[in-house]
């Protein structure tokens, strides 16, 4: 039976899905056309036009998908699942773009869109590289557009279509409401969408994802060139065009990641700008590898060394981007990360995506046809095994095989240079620097991947192997491998662990950044080298020692315990290295380059990076949580760290000491902005003047955004000074008091909150906002009771009320029915001290149950906040470093372009 749905506009979805299919098909044929060009007809104009028009059609289709989705959101077509879930009517227009990429499909679309744009640029500019590079890029597009297809082949579900109607969504199929022809007007839910997650309603959501995804998309370009180079056997020439793209990628992805940090710091309540969250790590790792790749490519351009490493790093960067997408979108991290997506059924598709490009890359790195055939054979077996449902084991085999093939390919078949780098040459140390970056990336990646490692360890044969290891060796670590159940530990420990590893890596990188520019290619006169660096070395030592003394090893150092002492020592070394790096690069800039800024891109970028590191070290290691647990209860006995007392309880009007300030929670204000209610909490910070009188220094207004659909979101407020930031956010506030801000005056006149009904029996527990009540007894009253009267039946209910101090009070509520008229009356049970009232208003006839209204007293007592406040010293150094680094890279890009143009003419 065909139902004619009223009010649905299916044309939108059909158009959108048409574009998706068109994008997929054109990408597919663009691959074929371009591959054909590379193999047979590189100079054939007809094929060139065919390939180009296919790709242009593809790009237009992708833009079409994006535009359709955007217009659907603007037109409020809530019959579509994506629109309903990510947007709503009264949302301001500036969040419309954010709605498009909030969801999983939308973020894929954003990636797709950037690739399309980059592809159009590449098509125009890459000349003889056009065909191979466009083949690779189109191939990536095939996989990405497949993720939006949303079609079924029997049981196999490919992609998730953002243009799906709400009623056709798999989880809704067959539900009764999908059979109602006028469901759109009948069901209130469809009148408005759910809207953007309140945490995401800010300008960061408009600028951060596009930047990050542009960074992601840019990493595809060096990858495409590397694959193209391997494929066409032009092992050397691909690097020249790819290097500029790699630089742009380093800049954009770097900015994208730091924007994420800035967002987290400014408007999310993570308590800082970097939490080593798996999702953050997943984008940092490819960046580190890309930085390594860019350096090694530069090295190769200048010296002709480390060719294999350039291939390896460019390929690894892209594969890691795909892997990071897998980590965030497959749901595998949902137990370890706060902001990973949950499983959308894309798991398998993403794994195939990853596996395919791994196979393709390693195939080209095998350099020998026999090896290639064996490897492809293994890949086919792996694929069959994968389709059979053995995901973990097939990926594990592919990973091992790829590693092995790559090593054999390199050792046996790869043409290597005979000449060895001199120990005192720039190329040697730059190479080492790239390797250190790779090691740092590996450490982060491996630790982040613990859920994946668990999956691998659960493979039967791997499991048996480690069981065998354990039974023969009895090593303690092997039992963990057998359990295959590793979890990252609590967040403090995770951060500590990353810091312990990454600070030494950063130290080495900073040292290399300082010295490497002073090396010359080929060979360096060591004496000259030492003389040039000696001054910066000495000055940085002179700066660092007192600085470190002042910030770490001052009088408070004795209170520092445990591993934090170790971290302080590591930080001191890192501070030295980064200051040394800063000075040495500045010295290089002025003495050797004589201030020629056009050529100073590298130095300026390195100075920026050094400043960034200084900022990170100071602001994180000296982050001071000034809010303290000022309560009577000592909680240190519960915890080994004894440091969980990071929140302050502020009652309205009270003034408490917090750090160097006195703070008062003065009032709350309810504001409605863009249709969303916010509650601001005004917290005054007072300082003592010379005369001993406290006066208002400044007011911070951390706030909570109220959202009935998605829950309330707390957002911080920060006071910026030049040398430090004071950062506050609301950890907890009584939900009832949020609602009551509407009218303070009304609240005061009204003694009790809105009543809540409970159907209860003797022995039941009622849990309320300010207390817990146990129904002690329910009984019929007789003449011994003071409330007894002859005309009425009377029932009493007694409650034991526990407040926070576990003090017990017994109170009684009565319910009377007139024997003749049947009129009822109640006598409430009230506990004034705790502020709670019970009204016994109904008897359930057969079940021995009664109905009771509870109401909590609305008093000044409920008006409090639990707040965390931290000082981040020197955080502006961090932002400044970021800016300088971006400028430096930009100068380097411009210079690179100029050089490339010179080479051509």
């Amino acid at each position: 039976m065909e139902i004619n749905y009223i009010g649905e506009q299916t044309l939108w979805g059909e158009l959108g899905h048409f574009f998706v299919v068109l994008a997929f098909v054109t990408a597919f044929f663009s691959v074929i056309a371009n591959v054909f060009r590379v193999q047979n007809a590189i100079n054939d104009v007809g094929w060139k036009i065919t390939a180009r028009s296919l790709y242009i059609t593809h790009a237009v289709a992708v833009i079409g998908i994006f535009t359709t989705l955007l217009l659907m959101i603007v037109a409020h077509r809530f019959e579509y699942q994506y629109v309903w879930q990510h947007s709503k009517r009264d949302m301001p227009m500036n969040y419309v773009l954010a709605c498009v990429w909030e969801g999983q499909e939308g973020s894929t679309l954003l990636w797709l869109l950037w690739h399309s744009v980059i592809g159009l640029v590449l098509m125009r500019r890459s000349k003889e590289w056009e065909a191979p590079v466009m083949s690779v890029l189109s191939l990536v597009q095939v996989f990405l557009s497949m993720m939006l297809l949303g079609i079924y082949f029997g049981n196999i579900h490919i992609g998730s279509n953002p243009f799906e109607l709400m009623r056709l969504k798999e989880s809704n199929l067959g539900l009764p409401w999908t059979k109602i022809p006028d469901y759109l007007s009948k069901i209130a839910l469809f009148r408005d969408g759910r809207g953007l997650n309140p945490l995401l309603q800010n300008y960061w959501m408009t600028i951060h994802p596009p930047t990050l995804f542009l960074g992601f998309a840019l990493t595809t370009v060096p990858f495409a060139f590397a694959i193209g180079g391997l494929w066409t056997k032009k092992y050397y020439e691909w690097q020249k065009p790819a290097l500029t793209w790699a630089y742009i990628g380093v800049m954009v992805l770097g900015i994208g990641i730091l924007m994420g940090g800035a967002w987290a710091y400014e408007s999310l309540s993570f308590g800082g700008f970097w939490a080593w969250d798996p999702v953050e790590n997943a984008s940092l790792v490819p960046w580190l590898v890309l930085v390594g790749a860019a350096h090694v490519m530069l090295l190769y351009r200048n010296k002709g060394q480390s060719l294999f490493t350039t291939f390896f790093l460019c390929i690894a960067t892209f594969l890691l981007i795909v892997y990071s997408t897998f980590l965030t979108k497959s749901g595998i991290l949902s137990d370890t990360s706060v902001h990973a997506f949950t499983d959308d059924g894309l798991n398998e598709e993403l794994t195939v995506f990853m596996g395919f490009f791994l196979w393709l890359s390693v195939l080209l790195l095998a350099f020998n046809w026999r090896l290639k055939i064996i490897y492809t054979g293994i890949a086919v077996i792996v694929l069959l095994r994968f389709l059979d449902g053995q995901h973990a084991s097939s990926m594990f085999i592919l990973l091992l095989a790829s590693l092995l093939v790559m090593i054999i390919g390199y050792i046996k078949y790869f043409p290597k240079q005979k000449e060895e780098e001199d120990l005192w040459s720039r190329e040697f140390w730059m190479f080492i620097g790239a390797l250190i970056l790779l090691a740092a990336a590996f450490q982060i990646s491996f630790y982040t991947s613990s859920p994946v490692v668990n999956k691998f360890l659960k493979i039967e044969s791997v499991h048996h192997f480690f069981q065998w290891v354990e039974s023969t060796t009895h090593w303690t670590w092997s039992s963990k491998l057998v359990e295959a159940n590793m979890a990252p530990g609590n967040s403090d420990r995770v951060v500590l662990f990353y810091n312990k590893w990454q600070i030494p890596f950063a130290f080495l990188v900073c040292l290399l950044m300082a010295v490497t520019q002073f090396f010359k290619y080929k060979q360096t006169d060591f004496k000259l080298f030492a003389r040039q660096l000696f001054r910066s070395f000495l000055i940085s030592l002179i700066i660092t020692v007192p600085l470190v003394w002042f910030i770490y090893f001052n009088s408070s150092y004795i209170h520092v315990v445990g591993e934090k002492r170790g971290i302080y020592i590591l930080c001191s070394f890192l501070l030295f290295a980064s200051i040394f790096s800063l000075l040495a690069n500045a010295d290089y800039l002025f003495k050797i380059l004589k201030g020629k800024f056009k050529k100073a891109g590298a130095s300026i970028a390195h100075i920026g990076f050094a400043i960034l590191i200084i900022g990170i070290v100071i602001s994180t290691s000296k982050k001071d949580t000034i809010s303290r647990n000022t309560s009577r209860v000592d909680i240190s006995s519960f915890t080994d760290q004894g440091s969980n007392a990071e929140n302050i309880y502020l009652k309205k009007g009270d003034t408490l000491k917090m750090g160097d300030y006195f703070v008062t929670y003065r009032k709350k204000e309810r504001i409605i902005k863009d249709g969303t209610p916010y509650v601001f909490f005004n917290v005054d910070f007072l300082t003592k003047g010379k005369d001993g009188i406290s006066k208002l220094d400044f007011t911070l207004r951390p706030f909570i955004q109220l959202n009935p659909f998605m829950g309330n979101a707390a957002e911080p407020d920060t006071r910026h000074f030049i040398h430090k930031d004071i950062y506050t956010f609301i950890k907890f506030v009584d939900a009832a008091s949020l609602v009551d801000t509407v009218d303070e005056a009304m609240k005061k006149s009204q003694l009790f909150d809105k009543p809540q009904n409970h159907t209860i029996a003797k022995g039941d527990t009622i849990s309320l906002d300010n207390c817990i009540a146990v129904v002690d007894n329910v009984f019929k009253i007789d003449s011994t009771n003071a409330n007894y009267s002859n005309d009425e039946y009377g029932i009493a209910a007694t409650f034991k009320v526990f407040d926070g101090l576990m003090k017990t009070e017994l109170i009684t509520a009565y319910y009377f029915i007139n024997k003749i008229t049947g009129v009822t009356r109640q006598v409430d049970a009230i506990d004034e001290k705790i502020g709670v009232k019970f009204t016994f208003w109904k008897v359930q006839p057969n079940e021995n149950k009664i109905d009771v209204y509870s109401a909590v007293k609305l008093s000044e007592k409920a008006d409090f906040i639990v707040m965390e406040a931290s000082i981040f010293p020197g955080i502006n150094i961090l932002w400044m470093g970021c800016l300088i680094m971006a400028i430096g890279i930009f100068i380097a890009i411009v210079e690179r372009k100029r050089k490339n143009n010179l080479d051509k003419s």
Binding site: N172, V338, Q443, V866
Partner: protein, 128 residues
């Protein structure tokens, strides 16, 4: 042997070292029964037991919040979280707590919550 090879081997050694420290530094996922046996820090995933009371008295201690939780096998335990009560805790669908058993309670020093507010699956349940 070339210098680069020596460095490469060193780097690989660091890599393998970092793999082993993962073992030393990770805790494990467990249910309450296993947590009772191990006494070490574990992660327990489960859901909030809505039938039992939660307790949070910030006036006395803003850094202590207790509730009852069911692990994935449905076994319940009283949990003391040494942090403030997470906003919207009542709405949580899934909770992961990090900590260890002390006496009769599970003392948690960290919590991860999955709320419907985070990237939700778009399921629509209409009462009809």
């Amino acid at each position: 042997m070339k210098k680069t090879h020596i460095v490469l081997i060193l780097i690989i050694a660091i890599g393998i070292g970092s793999m082993f420290t993962l073992l030393g530094n990770s805790s494990t996922y467990a249910d309450f029964k296993e947590a009772m046996e191990s006494k070490e820090e574990v992660h327990v995933a489960g859901t909030l037991d809505r039938t039992k009371p939660m307790e949070y008295n910030p006036e006395i201690n803003p850094n202590k919040f207790s509730f009852y939780m069911l692990d994935r096998n449905g076994n319940g335990k009283h949990v003391i979280l040494l942090k403030s009560k997470p906003n919207d805790f009542e709405r949580s669908q899934q909770v992961v707590i990090v900590g260890s058993i002390k006496g009769n309670d599970f003392v948690a020093n960290d919590i991860l919550m999955k709320c419907p507010s985070k990237y939700n699956d778009g399921k629509l349940i209409v009462a009809k």
